[in-house]
């Protein structure tokens, strides 16, 4: 292959979104202004630090100057970037996906996943551009002593990935099919959380620099950092998949990549949790894994009960004919089959936690039986809510609530059953002597644990939840069976519209 052919091939491989967004970013006043302001302030900080150091006597702790300077520059860079990049990415996505003016980019043949990848990559490159401009200032702090290169690299990289992560979140918010004011409000809320997390991130950086990478205790910190990075990466990937699904056409199999990803991540995170259990001789990590998985799967369940119950030709033609593979596809493809996927995953999560904690887990101070019961009760409660909402939507609310809004029924049920009764019971009953019978009964439909692990299980609650969940599942079995029977590849071709539409005739 000639050099020219290589050049052409590379040119074709570059994501068009990256090319366009970078062209716009480097020409745009907003990016350039923030970049210049950031650099000017960093330069002032460095000059100030140098003058300050010169004026200070040798008796002053010189070793602290480099670390202090690094933290100041890093803070300016970090907060400047967090204000710029995620906001820039989110706003662009929001304006491109606005109800009234969807960008023409979305009617080209570029795939939704490439759009999302391109936007994430653009955010990453713009962040890298800003960071690279500040690198000389950051490295200069090394000359003033008090900080090592590895600490500089780790903190800078952590900050960099944090900003890219925030951009992924901003893209997700920007792509939500909601009104502009709602997205703006959500964005402001998340931005506030982001700033709070940024302060924590800065505190972490200061701590890391203070102790240094080779200092005692740094191993634990590095492990913690690795865990945070892994979690952030999984969350980012999930958000990227969700954003892709949001901008894909409704006829597409939007749930498949998400459910596949969640299934794979379930296995990967289980592996990491088991490794942590062995390493720390405690099932704490496994408990965190189980709670996290149940939370994510619950959201999928509430979404799946409102998914399509009929499959258009686009999905139908990809349904496998082999019965086993067809069942697998039923669970993973867009549609109500996701309900069964979520229930199976919930059962698998609890069974895995129980079997590892009981059979092979180390003996530690955790009250494993009580935690297992909490998880079980939580899962039963969630299954109860989902099944009841599905039944209500299919029967008495069938004309009032569209299928895609079934989650709203869950929300109403949750307020009616899990929030209002306990509030009333707490108001009526004196709980100074512990939970009385009314409070206990009122908190039955609450998926969250309401008592300490030492209080022990309350068997009537477990039985009540078992009965509720079982009933909620049983009344929907026929629905699921019908759904599965409907989930099959059509034998013939999709009927054409020939003959249906008379040529240039009014049919209004």
């Amino acid at each position: 292959m000639t050099l020219r052919e290589w050049r052409e091939r590379i040119n074709d491989a570059i994501n068009p979104i990256v090319v366009k967004e970078l062209r716009q970013a480097v020409r745009g006043r907003f990016v350039v202004t923030v970049l210049v302001l950031s650099l000017v302030s960093q330069m002032i900080i460095v000059i100030g630090a140098m003058i300050g150091q010169r004026l200070e006597s040798m008796s002053v702790e010189r070793t602290a100057v480099g670390a202090g300077l690094f933290m100041t520059i890093f803070s300016v860079l970090f907060f400047g970037s967090i204000m710029l990049v995620p906001m820039y990415s989110g706003f662009r996505m929001m304006s491109e996906r606005s109800d009234s003016n969807v960008d023409l980019l979305f009617i080209t043949t570029i795939r939704p996943r490439n759009v999302v990848a391109g936007k994430i990559l653009s955010a990453a490159v713009i962040t890298a551009l800003i960071f690279s401009a500040s690198v000389p200032f950051l490295v200069f702090s090394y000359v003033l002593r008090g900080i090592d290169f590895i600490s500089i690299a780790i903190v800078t990289l952590a900050g960099y990935f944090f900003i890219v992560s925030q951009s992924v979140l901003a893209l997700f918010v920007g792509a939500l099919p909601a009104s502009r004011p709602f997205k703006l409000l959500l964005g402001i809320g998340l931005f506030a959380i982001s700033i709070t997390t940024s302060v924590a991130m800065s505190a972490f950086a200061a701590q890391f620099i203070r102790f240094g990478v080779t200092a005692p205790g740094a191993r634990g910190m590095t492990g913690g950092l690795a865990a945070v990075v892994a979690l952030a990466l999984i969350a980012d990937l999930l958000l990227a998949f969700l954003t892709t699904a949001l901008i894909s056409p409704p006829s597409a199999n939007r749930a498949l990549p998400i459910r596949l990803f969640l299934t794979i991540m379930w296995l990967v995170s289980l592996g990491i949790a088991i490794w942590a259990v062995i390493d720390n001789a405690s099932v704490g990590a496994l408990l965190v894994w189980a709670v996290g998985e149940l939370a994510i799967i619950s959201l999928v369940l509430f979404s799946a009960i409102g998914e399509r119950e009929e499959w258009g030709p686009r999905i139908a033609r990809t349904i496998p004919r082999d019965p086993l593979r067809r069942f697998g596809a039923f669970l993973l493809f867009s549609g109500g089959g996701g309900t069964i996927w979520a229930l199976l995953m919930m059962a698998a999560t609890i069974a895995t936690f129980g079997s590892i904690a009981y059979l092979g887990g180390p003996a530690d101070s955790l009250n494993v039986p009580r935690y297992l019961m909490w998880l079980l009760e939580g899962a039963l409660c969630i299954a109860g809510y989902a099944g009841t909402a599905l039944l209500l939507r299919r029967t008495i609310l069938t004309r009032r609530v569209p299928a895609r809004a079934t989650w709203a029924i869950v929300l109403v049920l949750f307020v009616l059953l899990a929030i209002l009764p306990p509030l009333a019971a707490f108001a009526l009953e004196d709980d100074s002597q512990g939970f009385g019978i009314f409070i206990r009964i009122a908190t039955i439909p609450n998926p969250f644990p309401m008592t300490s692990p030492e209080a022990g299980p309350w068997i009537p609650k477990t039985i009540a939840l078992c009965v509720w969940a079982a009933l909620a599942i049983v009344v929907n079995v026929e629905w699921a069976r019908t759904l599965f029977a409907r989930f099959r590849r059509p034998n013939g071709e999709t009927p054409a519209m020939e003959g249906i539409v008379p040529e240039l005739s009014a049919e209004g």
Partner: protein, 309 residues
């Protein structure tokens, strides 16, 4: 290649913007899509461009469903919206390059295609200009150039002539004629009905989200008129001719111009021919005798009420 729109419906909350719209057209046809403001033209066109999804119904382009296979359909459709591009900090050439990349046109072809389209749409001189600095007419041309990049079989043009100066309008008309000759199926909305009449082969009239009339333009204009309008220019003797016409059966009214008469005549082609023969027999010297075609404007005014959703 055919575009078949079938029972398209689009609801925005309780408002039904498009209500069971059906029509079809083929390669080489230029269809005028007309209706009052708020009739549902833009919504229908946005659905056809795959920018919006219909609440129900579908459209099939060359056998590809817009609802089921929008990605595949996009390769066949070029869309020029009524709103112009809002991209900041990007030149005309970069804008076209971006869309050519997005349509996955390989590098070797991309450079050639963009150059050719810039030349075709007369953008070569402004290719390095920033999009934001362009006039409406130039922006319209950029939009058209973008829609042509992937050589679509169907062109959907939403108010392409709005805001253009007379020269740009004439150029646009010529371009549309070229596209039609190339075999592209064109659906074009406009409020300038006289211009549409000149280039369209068919029309779809829509109001309150429903199609009122659709068909071949000749059929629409002829079938709608019970009384035909005949223009007669005599070589002198205008008043005598006027009197003769009023005496003859079928004449519903005569309007005198400077040197011609416009006659409202109810009768078949044969009866119109007999009318001419009778006038000649009576000694009138006729220099011109032709039927004036009803125009799209008249038809539009006849069938619409001006209501919006």
């Amino acid at each position: 290649m055919r575009v078949e729109v079938s029972n398209l419906r689009k609801e925005f909350g309780r408002t039904v913007a498009v209500d069971g719209v059906s029509f079809s057209f083929s390669s080489g046809e230029v269809i005028g899509f007309v209706g009052p403001n708020g009739a549902g033209k833009t919504t229908t066109m946005r659905i056809l461009a795959t920018l919006d999804e219909p609440t129900s119904g579908d459209a099939v382009v060359d056998g590809v469903s817009l609802v089921q296979d929008p990605e595949e359909a996009r390769t066949l459709i070029g869309f020029v919206p009524d709103a112009l591009p809002t991209h900041h900090d990007i030149t005309v050439h970069e804008y076209l390059d971006f869309f050519a990349r997005a349509y996955r046109i390989p590098f070797a072809r991309r450079v050639r295609v963009i150059e050719r389209i810039e030349e075709f749409t007369n953008l070569t001189g402004i290719r390095q200009k920033n999009l934001k600095s362009l006039s409406k007419g130039m922006n319209q041309r950029v939009c058209l150039a973008r829609a042509l990049l992937h050589d679509p079989k169907v062109l959907i043009l939403d108010e392409p002539a709005a805001g253009l100066d007379p020269r740009a309008r004439i150029e646009l008309r010529e371009l549309i004629r070229v596209f039609s000759a190339q075999g592209k199926a064109i659906l074009m909305s406009s409020h300038i009905l006289t211009e549409l009449s000149e280039i369209c082969t068919g029309a779809v009239i829509i109001e309150r989200g429903r199609v009122l009339k659709a068909g071949n333009l000749d059929d629409l204009l002829v079938t709608d008129s019970e009384v035909r309008t005949i223009v007669i220019r005599p070589l002198g003797g205008l008043d005598a001719l006027h009197r003769s016409l009023l005496e003859l059966p079928g004449t519903r009214g005569v309007r005198a111009g400077d040197d011609e008469l416009t006659v409202q005549y109810a009768g078949s082609d044969a009866e119109a021919s007999d009318l001419l023969a009778e006038l000649v027999r009576r000694g009138h010297r006729i220099a011109e005798f032709h039927q004036q075609r009803a125009n799209l404007e008249q038809l539009f005014m006849n069938v619409t009420t001006g209501g919006v959703q």
